[in-house]
Amino acid sequence: MVDTKTLVEKGSKTQEKKTPGAVGLLERGAFDQLFQVLQAQGYTIVGPTVREGVILYDELESPDELPIGWTDEQEAGTYRMQKREDEALFGYTVGPHSWKRFLFPPKHRLFRATRGKDGFDIEEDKYDGPNYAFLGVRACELQAMAIQDNVFLGGDHVDPHYRSRRESALIIAVNCGKAGQTCFCSSMGSGPKAGTGFDLALTELISKDGHAFLLEVGSKKGNKIFKKLPIEKAGKKEQKAADAVVAEAEAQMGRQLDTEGLKDLLYRNYQNPHWEEVAEKCLSCANCTMVCPTCFCSTVEEMTDLSGDHAERWRRWDSCFTMDFTYIHGGSVRQSTRARYRQWMTHKLATWFDQFGTSGCVGCGRCITWCPVGIDLTEEARALRASDQGELQTGMQAEA
């Protein structure tokens, strides 16, 4: 069990790159045993698999379901799967799914209420699903988890639904050996190497000599798994090879985001006319918020059955790009796409710091890839910088 406090501490220490713990080598031929050990310990394994032309995360029974020999090509508004020349298990970057769909499901029930004699009784929903082992968590996704930990566990109120899912999950990270064209984790200090926040971390090593995984232990829970595996000693050679894998990903980083002074830049550009230009392209479709691993906004829905004696409250993902999101009596506050895009980007890159002490962006590039019109967050930040309006802009000045 991980307690809330450690989760939050993890959240604030994500920049640390050192991980103490055992290191060893797992041959590809023995990789099936990782599945067996996890299953024997009662974990339901969730990992990458090929479905509907993309690599997404789903429950897995065996390593055969991993995207063996597959990779992805990504660009703004584009995602294509391609065959690799090798049989890599983790030779892709990230798809449209993130782990938040398991820790903070897109739709889940908060409570059930039953009408009684002179009122109603409420029964809270407690998580009784499986203990998940997340296999293939990227460094940027670890950072995203730490960020959501801060949201749901770090404040005065703790979300019990998130907490029970989070505490029971085992995290097996995979260091990236490839970066996509929309990746910019190195700009955000979140990758491509997993620093902390995992139970086990793998680096996939493929060469003429063979196919193996360098395993690093990140926690006691991870060590328990590690000890049950047919681990061989990893020498300097393997360590070096693993470093080279990550270095290659770092060198391939397709995008960059200049974070220098970015928060203040956004704060003083609420009135920048550039927002109007983005708004002309933006469809306000909410795709970016759905694929974002840190976006946490939700709404609630009340449901009743036909008899009217049973009611349920469900929580589902919501997006600041919808008109309903800001509805109060009299109308929506953010009527224009301009205001909604501004809210989203300013939240990610500026107000998040004041709310939770970190950036809300981990540089995974999903919002760029999955934007149907290819709006690029890094490009928008650059354009805003180019048209920076200088001193703090307030409505008062703008209207004066």
Binding site: G119, V151, H157, Q271, T299, A311, Y327, T394, G395
Partner: protein
């Protein structure tokens, strides 16, 4: 996170769409203490949940008092409740009018429409500890005389020799002998020392904007002006993201803000 059952013990109708519910915990225990300006989440079985400011006396915590305007699905259903009905309640949440810090100062309370509801607990507190404050002024504006909330209480407060109460309406028929005009017009005639005043303002945003300008015009510093903000809200505990206002969450950091804290946001449209 779960609503606690409360029972409606009194219902008062004010205007055609405004009413007050008084409710006490169904289990007979006292309701938790609240600070003036805070709000609760009211849940109606199978209908939904809404944030409603507390408008009762903070000195009496046997029951919560909520003045509500029926404008949506949940508030309209709340409007149709009968005495004895059960309501779910979470709270209290949010920041409050700084009545403690305001001791020794003059108090200006400026309300527009139903904005008087979250201010009434502050007024109750100030009047209950009248000797701790300097001059006390209540400025209240509504659209028409029919929209005035708490009319009997207003008349009673107006009869107090130690409190200035001014009421105005935007438009009225001939049977109205009071003032006509916007609430900001009352500020020049209000008796307070601008340099030793705490002003509490609540109403539509446009009303608060002009009220703040008038108060600043008389010399009240922005850190001594407090306003109560409203946004869509689902969870009240900072999870749902709906009530974000710049870097703040209205449910946690608000609803009551010193104007100095948010003045750079206040006039940014569609924030």
């Amino acid at each position: 996170m779960l609503p606690r059952p409360y029972r409606v013990i009194r219902i008062t109708r004010h205007t055609h769409d405004t009413f007050t519910l008084e409710m006490e915990p169904a289990d007979g225990n006292p309701a938790p203490y609240f600070q003036p300006g805070q709000f609760n989440m009211l849940y109606l079985f199978g209908v939904g949940e809404v944030p409603i400011s507390i408008s009762g006396d903070p000195g009496h915590t046997r029951a919560y008092v909520h003045t509500i305007r029926a404008v949506g699905t949940v508030t309209e259903a709340l409007c149709n409740l009968k005495i004895g009905a059960q309501v779910g309640l979470r709270g209290p949440f949010g920041s409050s009018w700084p009545v403690k810090e305001a001791e020794g100062s003059d108090i200006v309370i400026a309300a527009g429409g139903i904005g008087l509801a979250p201010l009434r607990p502050a007024l109750y507190h100030v009047l209950a500890h009248r000797e701790r404050y300097g001059k006390v002024v209540l400025l209240y504006g509504t659209r028409t005389p029919q929209d005035l909330l708490y009319r009997k209480e207003l008349e009673k407060w107006r009869g107090l020799f130690h409190t200035q109460v001014e009421v105005t309406v935007d438009h009225a028929a001939r049977d109205w002998f009071g003032r006509v005009g916007v609430v900001t017009k009352l500020i020049p005639g209000a008796r307070f020392d601008p340099f030793h005043t705490k002003a509490f303002v609540c109403g539509p945003e446009v009303m608060m904007r002009f009220t703040v300008m008038e108060l600043m015009g008389r010399g009240v510093e922005t850190e001594n002006i407090f306003i109560s903000m409203e946004r869509n809200m689902k969870c009240a505990v900072g999870f749902c993201g709906h009530c974000q206002y710049g870097p703040t969450f209205i449910c946690k950091d608000g609803p009551v803000y010193p104007y100095s804290q948010i003045q750079h946001l206040f006039k940014t449209r569609e924030l």
